[in-house]
């Protein structure tokens, strides 16, 4: 099928875009990268009467460091995060490890991070990273600008706290401290499939003891999940040598955290080829592996820093 008819505007400023979206007589839709929206319009599951194309608003096409946060404008494409040094520190590493799991290069050259937050698919990599890191979603609407914490933003599949007349202008993510290490691992059937399950993790270490843990679960509930119970189970744990074998011993803190995440944090929704029990098993295994990746990333950073001091 082809998209049904709609009116089209391409505003040049955020103010003009907000004004266009404020027209409540027509069902409006923001077009950024369009890599989900235009597909939905093909299938006519979304039939907007007005498409507000924000691609010609230069002020949205900016990425900047503001204080201890990264601010990602609404037009920053997925591909921008592919180089590991596009964003400084462990956050840059996390985003670059996650982004290669989002579709493939011709989609990543158009799709945007803010668009993923707007679409709020439960299998979105960015959205799970957003809840794990306490991201902030900046929106602008007829009643002015407001900032929504990621924890309050996701309400369900494709359902968010953004009001229909509001435009997402940016997403803010905290830069992770130098004592942090990160990991991201995704499990899917083929390269062309969405994640069955994926995990994002950031560990902060002090003298070999875990002082902070952030774990985000992709496609493990009807919305992105922050695995708080699993995080709590790790705090204060002294980490010895990391097991070299692929399968973590059952009594390893990371394996334990994986089981906690699967049982207490996740609420998996059954899908074809992945029922809830299968997903719980995958979550338990992937959380353990991702934590190990984060711990080894943290150690590599410490070693590199000591090398630099010598």
């Amino acid at each position: 099928m082809k998209p049904a008819s709609f009116d089209y505007v391409a505003p040049r400023t955020v103010a003009e875009a907000v004004e266009a979206l404020g027209d409540t007589r027509r069902k409006a839709q923001v077009l950024a990268g369009g890599q989900s929206l235009i597909l939905e319009m093909h299938l006519q599951r979304i039939r907007p009467q007005l498409v507000v194309d924000i691609n010609r608003i230069p002020e949205l096409d900016r990425m900047s460091i503001e204080g201890d946060e990264l601010r990602v404008g609404a037009l920053i494409r997925h591909a921008a995060f592919e180089p590991a040094d596009a964003v400084p520190g462990p956050l840059g590493t996390l985003l670059s490890r996650a982004v290669v799991n989002i579709a493939h290069p011709p989609i990543r050259s158009r799709g945007t991070m803010a668009g993923s937050f707007a679409w709020a698919h439960p299998a979105s990599e960015w959205c799970a990273i957003g809840v794990a890191l306490d991201a902030t979603v900046e929106v602008n609407g007829p009643d002015g600008a407001r900032a929504i914490p990621a924890g309050d933003y996701f309400l369900g599949p494709y359902n968010t706290a953004r009001r229909p007349q509001e435009l997402i202008t940016a997403v803010r993510l905290p830069l992770l401290g130098e004592n942090s290490g990160v990991g991201f691992i995704e499990h899917r059937r083929t390269h062309f499939c969405f994640a069955q399950v994926a995990v994002a993790a950031a560990l902060t270490m002090n003298d070999g003891v875990i002082s902070g843990a952030r774990i985000g679960l992709v496609n493990s509930a009807d919305r992105p999940v922050r695995a708080r119970a699993a995080e709590r189970s790790l705090l204060g744990t002294e980490l010895g040598t990391l097991p070299k074998v692929l399968r973590l011993p059952d009594d390893h803190p990371f394996a334990r955290a994986g089981r906690v995440a699967a049982q207490d944090d996740a609420a998996p929704v059954a899908e074809p080829y992945a029922d809830a029990e299968y997903k719980r098993q995958a979550i338990a295994v992937l959380v353990g592996r991702t934590l190990r990746e984060a711990a080894s990333d943290q150690r590599a950073r410490m070693a590199a820093r000591e090398e630099g001091h010598r």
């Binding site: 391409a10 077009l31 493939h104 290069p105 011709p106 050259s109 158009r110 062309f192």
Partner: protein, 160 residues
């Protein structure tokens, strides 16, 4: 809506409905039927073209979004005298096509990657990402990977 589209270097003034896709305008209005439409879901990649130098799915971009942009299609790959592009020669040499339906998409995705990275030959992962972007039901992908690698090596040798 009136738009200006530069396709393979030629400027076209067009009047298109906002609902029309870049792929349909290329094929139906400009009669550039080298750009193929397979799934129209953004999955198969047969419709891949270069928009301002970047590979995009022409089925997931509205023509009106390209107003003022420069688009390159598979028809724009050949040289001025009709000689094949190095990628086209490499696809032929490596038997990287059989039925040919997917070939324009693979050629344009590879052309975008080649132009963005002169050292693509040293980056097998980037080549694998290009090959993994589109669907081919004939070749099993390996000949396509070899062809892109061959063209990338050739490009580097001629630019040194």
């Amino acid at each position: 809506m009136k738009i200006t589209l530069t396709v393979n270097g030629a400027e076209h003034a067009l009047d298109v409905e906002p609902r029309r896709l870049l792929a349909d305008v290329l094929r139906d209005d400009l009669r550039l039927t080298g750009t193929h439409l397979g799934c129209e879901h953004g999955i198969c990649g047969a419709c891949t073209v270069l928009m301002d130098g970047e590979a995009v799915r022409a089925c997931l971009v509205l023509a009106v979004q390209c107003d003022g942009s420069s688009v390159r299609t598979v028809e724009g790959l050949t040289g001025p005298d009709g000689e094949p592009h190095p990628l086209q020669r490499a696809f032929s040499a490596e038997h990287a096509l059989q039925c040919g339906f997917c070939t324009p998409g693979f050629l344009m995705a590879a052309a975008g990657a080649l132009e963005a990275d002169p050292d693509l030959a040293d980056n097998p992962e980037a080549i694998a990402a290009v090959v993994g972007s589109n669907i081919c039901r004939c070749t099993g992908y390996e000949p396509i990977r070899r062809a892109i690698t061959r063209a990338a090596q050739e490009q580097r040798e001629t630019t040194v």
